[in-house]
Amino acid sequence: MKTKILLAAATAGVMFAGSVLASTLDDVRARGKLNCIINTGLVGFAAPDDKGKWQGFDVDFCRAVAAATLGDADKVNYTTATGKTRFTKLAAGEGEILSRNTTWTFSRDVDLSQTFIGVNYYDGQGFMVPKALGVKSAKELDGASVCIQTGTTTELNLAEYFAGNGMKYNPVPIETNAEAQELYKAGRCDVYTTDASGLFATLYSFDNKADHMVLPEVVSKEPLGPVVRHGDDQWADIVSWVLRAMMAGEEKGITSKNVKELAAKDNKDKEINRLLGKDPLQGLSKLGLSPDWAVNVISQVGNYAETFEKHLYPLTIQRGMNALYKDGGLHYIPPIK
């Protein structure tokens, strides 16, 4: 009796451990779908369109990974997470990727055992106020009520910024961007603070955009990027090279329009050949990807510039720091060799 129970427990344990150890790529392929954790709703980054389909810059990244691994960008299941629940959801295996305005920090990387695979958006924290408030600088916000999303770097930066400038404030904590908008509009808080990208997205959804302004101060560095669980290097490599492939596409002028054409011919720039599967890319088989992986990504989703322009230009977001290095921005990717 007892040994039987022990045996059962042991098998359960082994089975469980086994399922953890199986490669993420195998799991995704076996399921035929990629599980991707995104925002609860932030226009431009991840928000359902009028047909209920998720759209946005972060959504496109999920699609790109699906295109590379499954050959079809539409094979994605989306799971939403608030700032608070995202890491728990990722750790619990509710998704293979967390693609949700997530700032790369030391403790998240090291202590929370996540792997940040790169930066797809360089951001910084800003403040938005109604113009009627008559405030021109964040330094004038002493005593204000400030809406913040909990479980974010935002709330830690805010505490440090106000303390550092000898100012007091009244934090009004909320869970999602949608709630924050409601409270801000109702006047529960004087200021809404979050990543500048989030402020632009929020402003975009307002009817009376002209009544609000973003203050000039940017009080933090927020390198945002996709996150995967620690421990599966193959998967981390796949996800990071999908991001680089999209940026390489922009760098080399490969777009969703011309990618098929470029893939078919022998290009003078051999890096294009290697990226698009014309020439062999050493080690690609170790990633378990087929030679047309990047073609799938760029043809179905587009290069970095294309998704940026599609989703973020309407919010009046400029490339700025998010331009490629050769255009004066910060995106500089290792060579495809």
Binding site: F16, L141, G143, T150, P173, G187
Partner: protein
């Protein structure tokens, strides 16, 4: 074989065997749970550690009953949250009790309209989920009350706005000790007088208006102390400064919404409990009390309620417990209670899900157990003795 069959047939030993078996199952299940957690933790590269409690929390909390700033530890942030839970539970319980008892009594009144209103109150309130109550009250306060700059001004000392309610705050100065002293004397007098009056009534049947006299003493004595010592209490009046009111005492919209919602919701259940308790008293008791000429209020207070109390208290306890536990929905409107601080932001900023949740659960468990222990004690005290 026969031996075993006999053991099984014997009721006593069979019971023991069954219990041992159940115990084994439970034990096995628990150990499986623990080993599973352990395996998961290993797979995720995590360990169980409570060191995070002592590092700076890094976030601010908008309501603290003890000193707190973002350099304090997660532990302290948790305590601040726990006190906030206690505060809203305290306010909620007071509101729910008063409202509930009143409604329960009204519900039984002979006035048709009043009783119907109480009936509809109960039916309506308790059939709407508590979360909706909370969101509704929060929405009302935030969307209907004006901005601080246009706050509703009550006598230049109290202000209502969508940032909450501001009332004057008493500040004490030197000399206040005299007021305290007089107050203590007043309390001692009240107790002695109460005992004396009771004794007198038992002996002679003579009655004093004890409540009124005590109330007078409790108010006037400290007042005399107050004037004699040169009025050592000043009021700090809230005033609009910059974005918000400063000074005075502040009740945030979140605290107010939670108190209203929890109080009003739980009052519906308490009303039913009170009604049931009163109905449980044999109607002969009421008739007997009325026949000796007691006024209706005396019948209620001296005859019915003391007996109904015994029926009312156990379920009332569980309502208080429910209210306290329901207060954890605070997180929906951003009230910084225990679940929002330690079980929310700290959890998230440190990634210590298991540890924070264990602590939060243990705290709720011990709060619940102590409230029910207290209520059991009280119940034992008021229950019928020697019957």
């Amino acid at each position: 074989m026969n031996f075993f069959a006999n053991i099984w047939r014997n009721e006593k030993s069979r019971e023991i065997i069954v219990q041992i078996f159940v115990l084994l199952c439970v034990g096995w299940f628990l150990s499986w749970l623990i080993s599973n957690v352990d395996a998961n933790f290993k797979a995720l590269g995590k360990d169980l550690s409570f060191e995070f409690l002592f590092i700076p929390a890094g976030y601010d909390i908008n309501q603290y009953l003890i000193e707190y700033n973002n350099r304090d530890s997660h532990l302290r942030a948790g305590i601040v949250g726990l006190l906030n839970t206690g505060l809203v539970a305290f306010f909620g319980i007071i509101l729910a009790t008063f409202l509930g008892i009143t409604l329960g009594i009204i519900r039984l009144s002979k006035n048709w309209l009043a009783s119907k209103i109480a009936y509809w109150y109960v039916e309506f309130t308790r059939n709407v989920p508590i979360l909706l109550h909370i969101l509704l009250w929060h929405g009302i306060i935030i969307n209907t009350l004006p901005h601080p700059k246009k706050a509703i001004n009550i006598g230049d000392v109290t202000f209502l706005s969508n940032r909450g309610f501001y009332i004057p705050k008493p500040l004490t100065e030197i000399g206040i000790e005299l007021v305290y002293l007089f107050f203590v004397i007043a309390i001692i007098f009240s107790i002695l007088f109460f005992k004396y009056a009771k004794k007198k009534q038992d002996l002679t049947g003579q009655q004093y208006p004890v409540i009124w006299i005590n109330l007078m003493v409790l108010i006037t004595l400290p007042m005399i102390g107050f004037f004699v010592s040169g009025m050592p209490i000043t009021l700090e009046i809230p005033a609009l400064k910059g974005f918000n009111f400063r000074g005075g005492m502040h009740m945030s919209p979140e605290l107010a919404a939670l108190t209203f919602a929890l109080g009003i919701y739980t009052a519906a259940f308490i009303a039913e409990i009170v009604r049931a308790g009163i109905l449980a008293i044999d109607k002969g008791q009421r008739e007997a009390a009325e026949s000796i000429g007691l006024k209706p209020s005396k019948v209620m207070n001296l005859v019915i309620l003391p007996q109904a109390r015994r029926v009312i208290i156990p379920p009332l306890t569980s309502q208080y417990l429910n209210l306290t536990k329901n207060s954890s929905l605070a997180i929906a409107i951003g009230y910084m209670d225990l679940v929002a601080t330690l079980g929310g932001i700290s959890l998230n900023q440190t990634g210590r899900e298991m540890e924070t949740m264990l602590i939060v659960m243990l705290i709720y468990l011990s709060v619940s157990l102590s409230i029910s222990a207290f209520m059991n004690w009280y119940n034992n005290k008021v229950k019928l003795v020697g019957r």
